[in-house]
Amino acid sequence: MTDFQTKIGSLELASPILNASGTFNPSVFSRLFSLKSHLGAIVTKTVTPNASSGNPQQRTVELPGIGMLNSIGLQGKGIIASMDIDIPQHYGCHDLPVILSISADSEVAFQRMTAYIEAHANRHYLQGLEVNVSCPNVHAGGALFGASPQWVAKAVHAVRQETTLPLWVKLTPNTTEVVAVAQASVDAGADALTAINTVLGSHIDIRRRKPSLAKVSGGYSGQGIKPIAIHHVLNIAKALPNTPIIGVGGIRRAEDVLEFLMAGATAVQVGTHCFSDPAVFVDLVQDLEAWCIAEGVHSLQELVGVALP
């Protein structure tokens, strides 16, 4: 039996395999297989301070062979209704740690939302926050929080000062300063870094002669972004050797998980592939186990960072 346990800061997880935010419905997936036996924690869909109807249709585009584009636009009920209803009913009932993904459009909004979470969280299952900084900062002309080390630092600081919960920052690749943003996040109090969020992309519908997405551009995810994600994980692991990294981007097979671990990730998230194969978690666990037995690996953590140059 291979040891799957991992540690992300103070948070101990039974498995390094998690889902990526916004790609996983625990209530439906748990009707197929036991979440507790196949995941280390559940990451929620990103919650915003207020209800949002999201973007107009068309919101998604399939990119055959490589992944997809999305511009869902964080549709959701807002933090109050989510904490009251969705989080306990859909996420908090699987005997797994829940990581609440949060986003906001200003530092003040981040701060107030975190204070609300701190006051209302059920600590029995809510065991961490993942800060989604791939959202426009209203005080920066709508540019992404995550594009600038200074803005990220302010957002992370605003969250950190309101909570003692473990804090992860989900980094965007849509900046030339990924490592600087990673460093700024850690300096502002982040316990771990999730790398990477979706890559900006667009697609033209040649039949209509128009962009396929109503919002023109969206986030590119799926197997085509894996090399980009691995690149960033390697760079961050090298620059910040003491900060746990949760690798995400294009994982669909056990070999992909191994790549991320060897690049320096202590855990991984599976996103887009959940859409085309909800049972992917069952196959990942089986195939990782088989690989480790064949290779004489007793603990997955033996592999973390072994490929770092």
Partner: protein, 317 residues
């Protein structure tokens, strides 16, 4: 008139499926028969109710594709075989059209809600309005009725619109087995089969006496056809509750992605078709000029508590 209730969702599993046959008609309408082998996680047998859908894995050597939502047109619980009709409209159905007998894949099933029962009422007061491959879930509903013992007199009326006779040819024997000929109204865009015109024009051709008794209308077909049915129903089917079965672009089918949403007529956040549907009361949805309104739902958040993010004052909300 009581509003019939939607039936509850059947159990969910991932089924191994095998192609029994996959034939095309001269007009490009494909007829696929799948044998459902055992479920991967729980179930030996597959169950489905008319209106529900499955997510069929159509990935090939080219790698990633979303699964594709399909409704069964026919289901044989004994042989565990179900039929799908489809047209090649995109990458997924194109991949599907290359499948040969014996090909294996997987399908997540059954998902979504079903057409309402007409408990305590006679299904002969229900009219089915089908356009093209939208026929599938409606004709399964009629098939379920036959299995429950509905006689010719009990059967619903079916209006089935196609482009041309060739498109419907292979389906006619199946339809004729289920729906008595006096309740079967066929129409075609080119006039080669039945009434010359679309489904709504065919309804307009009937007398009010022939239509006034309908208490329920179930509609499934291309968006412009459903839109026309919904818009004209108050005049043509004045006593009918209208239900639509939507065929939205659906990336996951598992309530995870928020890619298939539709706006609500009376406000509130957009609804996931895979969760709240695919069968909806037509009046529940936000209809635009040409079909479902895809932009009008922006800002429909009034039902939720407001969280103050404008001040940095300490304390609650």
């Amino acid at each position: 008139m009581s509003i019939p209730s939607m039936r509850t969702e059947a159990l969910l599993d991932e089924f191994a499926v095998r192609v029994v046959f996959n034939t095309s008609s001269p007009t490009g309408l494909f007829h696929l028969r799948l044998a459902f082998e055992s479920g991967r996680f729980h179930q030996k047998h597959h169950h489905v109710q008319a209106g529900q859908f499955l997510m069929l894995d159509v990935q090939d050597a080219n790698g990633f594709r979303f699964r594709r939502p399909y409704s069964l047109m026919s289901w044989n619980a004994e042989t565990q075989e179900g039929d799908i009709i489809y047209k090649v409209v995109g990458e997924g159905s194109k991949a599907l059209s290359h499948w040969q007998a014996g090909q294996k894949s997987v399908a997540l099933s059954s998902l979504g809600n079903a057409f309402p029962t007409v408990a305590g009422q006679n299904p002969r007061h229900t009219i089915l309005l089908a356009g093209g491959v939208g026929l599938a879930p409606l004709i399964l509903w009629a098939e379920e009725g036959r299995q429950k013992g509905w006689q010719d007199d009990d059967m619903p009326t079916l209006v089935f619109g196609v482009r041309s006779q060739a498109e419907a040819q292979s389906l006619l024997p199946h339809l004729a087995r289920l729906i008595p000929l006096d309740k079967l109204l066929l129409c075609s865009d080119d006039g080669s089969l039945g009434f010359h015109g679309h489904v709504v024009a065919c309804l307009e051709d009937q007398t009010p006496e022939e239509l006034d008794h309908f208490e329920h209308a179930f509609v499934c077909g291309p968006t412009p056809m459903m839109n026309a049915c919904v818009k004209t129903a108050p005049q043509l089917l004045p006593n009918a509750n209208v239900y639509v079965s939507l065929e939205n672009h659906m990336p996951c089918g598992t309530r995870a992605c928020f890619g298939c949403v539709v706006g609500q007529a009376h406000g509130g956040l957009p609804l996931k078709v895979c969760e709240a549907g695919p069968v909806f009361e037509a009046s529940q949805l936000l209809w635009g000029e040409k079909g479902l309104d895809t932009v009008g739902f922006a800002g429909a958040c009034d039902a939720f508590p407001v969280f103050d993010t404008t001040t940095s004052a300490e304390g609650g909300v």
